[in-house]
Every structure is written in structure tokens, then in C-alpha cells.
Amino acid sequence: MGKILRRVMMIGGAITPPNIPMDWTWRQMAAEAFWNALQDAGVPVKDVDLVACNYNDRAIADSSPGAQIADALGILPKPVIPIANACAGNGIASYTAWNAIASGRCDVVVSLGFARSDNYDAMEAMNSQGNYVDFDYMMGLTHINYGAMRDSYYRRKYNVPLEAAGHWAYWCNWYARRNPLAASYSKPMPVLEELCADTPEAERDRQATNRGGVASAMVFVGEDVARKYTDKPVFFDVAYAFRPPYIGNFFHYPVESMREYDMGELPGLMVAAREAYQIAGIKKEDINVVQVHDLTAYEGMMALEALGLCEIGRAKDYVLSGGMTLESKCPVNTYGGGPAFGHGSAGSDFQAGVLENYWQILGKCGERQVKEARVGVNTSYGTHHSLDVVGVVQKGW
């Protein structure tokens, strides 16, 4: 690792609410999140040195999205770094922002993401939205199939009961009813016993709900310039790691950090967590609020294990003993998680977790507020964990 010249601080952010108007273009969505984040941070557009932007609107934006995004945000001729790496690409966008600030090259950087998921056309064909393109996706095996296979394997390997998954979904929904930004905010609260049932309907309810089109943005500055904008900045750090994109290679892939694991664990997330904790100067015992990117309840439990909050295969015990609740030493998914906040893909899957932890540390979370939140960690992943990201926010000075 190289020399880090200064700490990076987060001073604001924004995310679009669920059910944004159908007639909004992706440019309008991006501008909305960008504008609202700058307003939240008290930063004028002219102060922005760089934008790193994750997107998944391949059909309209591939080949030259940078200039289109810069134009939409009104920051021309300043640079935009376009990033396309599936749902967790915002982790790479924020990593890019972090590097630009930590190196001293930029003072103010915005990490942006948008997903206008109804923008498909035939050019979608060759994108790698599912797995290893040539031998999984092209042969009809998608990341959805991977998810079902992984859950089946994880449940069997670690004897995880349906009740643990049901409790996971229940508490995601409980928090979402207290978060106006969640997709399920105004919907009836599900019944715990029904979420724990062995039925296709319950299985569906234990999985992520869709948010539709979404955009989000976070504003980062160098520690030495943070006071110019706010007296309540928080420290931000991030790390990410890749895993082989072919699902068969999840078994005994011949590198040291992955050889001993298979589809029942998330070694990429373990690598990212180690680096993120090191850069942030924290230990796992310091963490007192966690948000994970969970398209299914089982995947959420696997993430807790990879973060080191539970032993491998034991997150079921953490969940069933009340570990997700506000009374826990480390509440989980206070934003609502995949099952209730909703899947935002490139638009929010990483940033929604960072923003929730940021607001938790600032004490802005109302009924879902964690007492004395000081260190928040969040995870996100792309496709089938070929990309895993960990973000850390900590109370500032």
C-alpha cells in the first residue's frame, strides 16, 4: 500500500425516493441526486473538482458517457470518471473519489450513481450483467440462478433454518417502516410467521424488492478543507476486491485468500473488509452499526460472517438472538436492506448503505436511530460477488 497523504471526509449526500417519475431521463435522475447532495453539503457546483460516476444504462451511455454526464451536471470542462461494474460499482466510484482526495490532487469530489433500469434495448446483449459471459450467461445461467444455487448450498452447508431468513426479512421490514426512503415504507408490515414459512411466497418475500430507477450521490472533501463547509463531517474509507467471475471457480480458486473457500462464503468481501478496517484504523469490535447489500436473507448473513461480526456459518445465531435489532450491540440493516429498502443496482446499492450510516452517525434517523452510533460499516457486491466492496464511516472531530 502506498502513502496516504490526508484523510477523506464525507460532508453530505442524497438519494432519490422510490417511484421516481416515469418520464425522468437518466440525466435528470443523475442531476437530481448530484444537486441535492451538494445542497446537503453546502457545496456550490463550481467547487466540485471531479465526479466519479457508476451507471448501468449501457444502451444509451456506453462508449462516451463521461462527457454526457459532465454536461448533464453542468460541470464541464471538469472531469467525470465513468465506471461500469454492476451493482457495487458505486464502491469503485467512491474509491476513485477517495484516491483523488487522499492524494491531494482534488479537494471536493462527488461519487455518483444512477440506474434507469427500464432503458433497455437490444444493445444489452453483450454486457456482462450476469456472471461469466461466455460460459454462464451465454449458456443461460444468470446471476439469478447463481443466487438460488448459493442460498441452497449455504443453507445445506451450515444448516441454516428458514426461521433465520424469516427473521432477517422481518427486521429489514421493521426498519423500512421507519425509513421514508425505503421502497416498503408505506406498505403493510409482513407477519413474522408467514416470512418463516416454507412456501414460494415466503421465499419471494425473503428476497429483495425492486426500487426501479434510482440515483444517489455522496460528497467527499479533504480533512483540511472540511471545516469550510461543515462542523459535522465524518471520516470515510473504502476498499474493494474481486472474485473470479465464473461461478465454478468459487470452489478452490488457486490464490491464497480464496483457495480454502467455496460458494458458502464470501472471501472477496473478507479481503475488502480487512483492507477497509486497516485504512480506517478500526477493529471489528469497534463497529456498532452495519448495513449490508442483501438480495436474499442468506446472502445478508454471509456478509455478516465475512465482515467478521460472526463466525463463518453462525450468523443464523446472531439473527435469531436479536442481533439485528436496535437493542443489539451492532444493529443490522437499519436502512431496510434488500428485502424492504429495495434493490437499486448501480444507482444505490453501495451508497444507500453509506448514506444510512452517515445519517446514523449524525443522529438523523428518528425511530430507527442507533444509540451512540460511531462506527458504521456497509457492504455491497456486483453480479454474483465478482466485486465486493466495504465502506467505513466514523464520527469526525
Partner: protein, 150 residues
């Protein structure tokens, strides 16, 4: 397809014959690669790529084992019609560990009793029709069936 709407369902694919041609050896006969420096075996093939184990760039073709056993199973009752996999539902999919240790995610074909597709069951490779490419030609490739030793 309705007689009123005779155009085919819009598929996302612009899959080219050239791409299918490039992957033919792996699809037809499970040809992977082996690192001549450290001996690690890989599927999909890493022809021309760098070995993640020893960082040499010296791959040679390697014929993967064509039988093995199931390690995980899942049922797919949705398919993926947008890329040509909407027929023959439900599909039974599995992670298969070949006898040489390589793992694949595959369709299990010709299953009379789904309960027989379970971890530990023996399977063997077959060549199957996958889908039609945009030229109308059939794409063939590997699938697996239960191996009952018959």
C-alpha cells in the same frame, strides 16, 4: 406469437457466430487449460491468460474430466427467454465437481424424477442443443445427465 404481431419477441442478443466459434472447444468437449509451469487446471479455458497461482503465461489445452458428482442443486422455473432460454421449464441446475476437481454450473438434462438430482449423485457430460444463434443455426454445448452406471 399472435397472428397480429408476427415479429419475434425482441431478444437482447446480438450474439455473433464468431463468438460461438471462439468458444467451441470448451462447449463441445469441455476443453479447459492447464498451466505448464505449476500444473493448475482451469475451466473456462485461460488460453493466452496469466496463471493466478504462479503468474506464468504458459497455458496448454487440457481435456477436463467428463463425469463427476453434484455438489449443489437449484430449480429454475423462470428461465431466461430474453437470451433464448425460455423453453423446457423448469430447468434443474447444479454445481458439478468433475472427477479432476474442476467445478461447473450446468443444466441437468433428461430428469424423470427430480428427487434423484441431489448432492452426491453421479453425472456425466452429454452434448446438447442449447439455443439458436441469430443466424438461426443451433448452438451446441455441454449439458449433464445422471449417471446410473447403465
Amino acid at each position: 406469437m399472435s397472428e397480429q404481431f408476427t415479429d419475434p419477441f425482441v431478444r437482447w442478443d446480438t450474439f455473433s457466430s464468431a463468438l460461438w466459434y471462439r468458444t467451441r472447444a470448451a462447449r463441445y468437449r469441455l476443453e479447459g487449460t492447464r498451466c505448464t509451469a505449476c500444473g493448475e487446471k482451469f475451466f473456462p479455458p485461460r488460453t493466452g491468460l496469466i496463471c493466478p497461482a504462479c503468474h506464468a503465461r504458459a497455458m496448454e489445452p487440457y481435456p477436463c474430466a467428463q463425469s463427476g458428482e453434484i455438489v449443489a442443486v437449484a430449480l429454475d422455473d423462470l428461465g431466461f427467454p430474453a437470451v433464448g432460454y425460455g423453453d423446457y421449464m423448469p430447468r434443474i441446475q447444479a454445481i458439478v465437481r468433475l472427477d479432476d476437481g474442476i467445478h461447473l454450473m450446468v443444466d441437468i438434462m433428461q430428469v424423470a424424477d427430480p428427487s434423484e438430482v441431489r448432492p452426491g449423485a453421479r453425472v456425466k457430460m452429454v452434448l446438447r442443443k442449447h439455443k439458436r444463434e441469430d443466424t438461426g443455426a443451433w448452438v451446441y454445448g455441454y449439458g449433464f445427465v445422471l449417471d446410473k452406471g447403465e
